[in-house]
Homo-oligomer: 209 residues x 2
């Protein structure tokens, strides 16, 4: 089922239930989608606004990116739940014979990689959205600047949500080379997101006077 | 209309539209409700779990608080939109005569206070939820610790979303005493939330080994 077709109220209730899914990763993806939507709103409120003619094409480009990310992140909500459910299913496989044990071990490791790749993807999306929120912070409608700022705060947080979910699954993964690669990529994303976030807050402070 | 009765997908689309509402404040309230729901989930996954018998009553207490906050925050989503719409309506009042001007000024100031009080309330809710997430971080089911951490990251961010929305409305408010009172209260909340957030990350780091 598509969790994003649930009402906001029911989705919240579904998270609260005594079941590990939807959990932090899925909630993070919704929060990132909401941040992208705030970005789209600020773009929309800048396009066609008097005094912002020079940045019209920039804002059109932003709007398209935010729209794509909104859809992508909604899909990621469901992917996160599926990935976790697959890990659980792999752990429940029989382990009576040596052969069964071997199959179970392989399946667990495969499932863990998917469970890492979904929040890793979420971290990448956060980076893609926040660099475009930076364009809004610089050139977007000043009346909606607090909405651009709100998006930035959320995206910065969701990166750390993604990181927590990458790390917890990495604990059980027995592939040091893969783990190192993910860690390096995450570090790189973290630096970019952190830098963009700082610049956003600075430029908003300046524009607010 | 109740915005939380929209599907997650439609709510996201509604945010993205070329209209200032629902904006950052409403999105912040949804994100905080999702964080409270993660708190409820971790409480649920701790209650009845072997090895966690000693914290059962603590977790029951947390669960009740998270449940109340989830409902309260959903209501706040709608209140935020109504408050902003009232500010806009006040600005649109006629100003042809001196009397009309005077009425308009009073109405704008009244509406701005409500538009400040809603995100101020959101900041208070963040504090209430994060101090209970701290109890989960300390005593909750270790298997769900990344979900408690995810909730903490989001709540910390939503406080700053709330602050941005308080500040932007404060700009136009002509009541220095009221503004100072709100600023002092916000500073106090910020210190409490910051401290709780730091303690949560520290205790999770320790428990993760």
């Amino acid at each position: 089922m598509d969790l994003c077709s649930l009402s906001v109220k029911d989705f919240i209730k579904r998270v609260a239930e005594k079941s590990p899914t939807p959990g932090g990763g899925a909630v993070g993806a919704v929060a990132a989608a909401l941040a992208a939507a705030l970005g789209a709103m600020v773009s929309n409120l800048t396009i066609g606004k008097k005094g912002y003619e020079d940045v019209e094409s920039q804002m059109e480009a932003c709007l398209e990116i935010f729209g794509n990310e909104m859809s992508y992140l909604c899909d990621l909500v469901n992917k996160d739940v599926q990935a976790f459910d697959q890990v659980m299913a792999a752990y429940r496989l029989p382990k009576n014979s040596e052969e069964e044990k071997a199959v179970r071990t392989v399946k667990i490791q495969q499932a863990l990689k998917t469970a890492i790749e979904v929040p890793f993807d979420l971290a990448r999306r956060c980076k893609n959205v926040i660099v475009n929120v930076e364009r809004l912070a610089k050139w977007g409608n000043l009346n909606a600047i607090s909405d651009a700022e709100s998006a930035a705060h959320l995206l910065y947080a969701v990166y750390y949500v993604a990181k927590a979910n990458v790390m917890i699954n990495m604990k059980s993964l027995k592939d040091p080379r893969y783990c190192n690669w993910i860690k390096e990529e995450m570090d790189h994303l973290e630096k970019q997101i952190e830098a963009s976030y700082r610049r956003i807050l600075e430029v908003i402070k300046k524009r607010n006077g």
